[in-house]
């Protein structure tokens, strides 16, 4: 069971890493902005294919190696889980190195070819785009918070009856494996952490909504559709994540309040079931967003002349990955070499939204 889950996870990470150059916006190749008319340049396509090929070879070696290794040795479960959890990072790490290699090569190519010399660079927007935005309302993230509030009230009510030892850590099978003395902090620890995460999800939704709908002047129709899909599906994915985490935490807290409320079989099912749902959600997001304004869309760059492109913003992207643009009030922007959002590191609000909750959760965990 563990093996299958780990194998699927590695496979999933592999496929995403192999296909990513073909799923990202086609005018940004390995973090380097290219005018649309050169996006399918033979040399650029060759770089993408080489990246995909090398990543694929490494992924196959890792997957087959993992399969053989687990069959030959009769392994202890912790060792299997540890190895299986490290392997996706091996693939991520190699694709990262390849990314930097091709990022460097493409930056060089861009300098040599001087693609932007004859192109007018403009800032564009469509006033009708905001009306078409289908992001989930931020209010939906208040619903899980109500559940947390209920959990806190329930825990406070049952405080006197609880045993003197409170679980603070759970294994992958959902069983507690570390305990601490009963106190208000240890009993309410889980609901508090949950509440902070829910507040973070709420804030991410609010600030993503406020962030810019970035339209590419070189391909208005497709780039608008891609932005709208990214906003819509990522907000659904965020809400799904919120719900799953709320269920998981509520379930752990209820098991703490009412001893052995759920059977061991449920305990096993939960983490794996969640991983499965998250993987499916991520896959839907990747397909829905990655199929528009990418190489997968085919050649259809329609309706626009190529003498106009959006302003080349490469100077704001450090290493093609970190966005630092003090002029742009957006807090989240579309990632350049993955599907999803990244922070505008020039905007302090972003740090508060993403890092503050993590710091509070870490402090809460260490005070126990």
């Amino acid at each position: 069971m563990e093996f299958i889950i780990l194998f699927i996870t590695i496979l999933f990470v592999s496929i995403l890493q192999i296909t990513i150059p073909f799923l990202v916006k086609r005018n940004v190749v390995f973090g380097v902005t290219i005018p649309y008319e050169h996006a399918q340049d033979p040399k650029i396509m060759q770089y993408k294919k080489r990246y995909a090929l090398i990543t694929a070879i490494i992924s196959v070696i890792v997957l087959i190696g993992f399969l053989i290794w687990s069959q030959v040795n009769t392994l202890q479960q912790p060792k299997l889980v540890l190895t299986g959890s490290i392997l996706p990072f091996v693939i991520l790490f190699t694709s990262m190195i390849l990314y930097f290699f091709f990022h460097y090569k493409l930056s060089k190519l861009k300098r040599e070819e001087d693609w932007y010399s004859n192109i007018r660079q403009v800032h564009v927007t469509d006033l009708r785009a905001r009306a078409k935005d289908e992001m989930l309302s931020s209010f939906v993230h208040l619903i899980p918070m109500v559940i947390t509030a209920t959990l806190i009230l329930l825990s406070a009510n049952l405080f006197e009856q609880l045993p003197n030892q409170i679980p603070i850590h759970w294994g992958a099978d959902g069983q507690p494996d570390a305990f601490t003395d009963k106190s208000w902090i240890s009993v309410l620890n889980l609901p508090f952490i949950l509440l902070i995460m829910q507040a973070m999800f709420l804030a991410i939704n609010i600030f993503t909504k406020r962030s810019g709908i970035k339209i590419q002047a070189g391909n208005v129709t497709s780039s608008t559709l891609r932005q709208l899909r990214l906003r819509k599906y990522s907000s659904w994915f965020l809400f799904l994540t919120n719900i799953l985490i709320t269920i998981l935490f509520s379930f752990l807290q209820l098991n703490l309040l009412y001893d052995q409320l759920f059977s061991d079989r449920w305990l096993l099912f939960f983490p794996f079931g969640f991983l499965f749902v998250m993987l499916i959600g991520a896959l839907v997001l990747a397909v829905k967003v990655g199929s528009v304004d990418s190489d997968l869309e085919g050649k259809g760059i329609t309706g626009q002349t190529n003498e106009q492109e959006s302003v080349d913003e490469d100077k704001y992207w450090k290493g093609g990955i970190f966005y630092f643009n003090p002029h742009d009030p957006s807090i989240f922007v579309e990632k350049r070499f993955s599907i999803g959002w990244t922070l505008n590191f020039a905007n302090p609000i972003g740090y508060v939204v993403v890092f503050l909750p993590v710091i509070i959760i870490l402090i809460l965990s260490f005070t126990l």
């Binding site: 564009v124 927007t125 006033l127 709908i213 957006s330």
Partner: protein, 126 residues
């Protein structure tokens, strides 16, 4: 579509002002339509908030929009309304240096009228 060119001699905020007015002329925007908040508009364009803010204030001074704090701006200009004497006066003053420039360069009255007709056609076509 709003499209601002940083290379142009005209400052970005002025370009934005002109394009919002052109959108009204072309019926892409109508009276009582809402313009996005300064933050949202600047985010969408990827420009500084000052640019949008300056443009909104310019449009407000011209009596074309009314700024609603935090929400955005509402278009109050009405094409179907008769232009007021005051507005006509102000426009006359703004036209004067341009007409003078045209005259200095030897334009005739007929050519001047043709030029205005041409500009009118161009604005509606774009």
């Amino acid at each position: 579509m709003i499209s601002l060119n940083p290379e142009s001699e005209l400052p970005l905020y002025r370009q934005l002002t002109n394009q919002i007015m052109e959108a009204i002329v072309r019926d892409e925007l109508a009276t009582n339509d809402m313009l996005p908040s300064v933050r949202a508009f600047a985010s969408d364009l990827g420009v500084n908030m000052h640019t949008v803010n300056k443009s909104y204030h310019e449009l407000e001074t011209k009596g074309i929009i009314k700024i609603v704090p935090k929400k955005g701006a509402i278009i109050i200009a009405n094409k179907r309304q008769q232009i007021t004497a005051h507005q006509l006066n102000k426009l006359g003053e703004a036209f004067q240096p341009l007409v003078v420039e045209a005259l200095v360069n030897g334009i005739s009255q007929q050519e001047l009228q043709d030029l205005i007709t041409k500009v009118l056609v161009k604005i509606k076509e774009d």
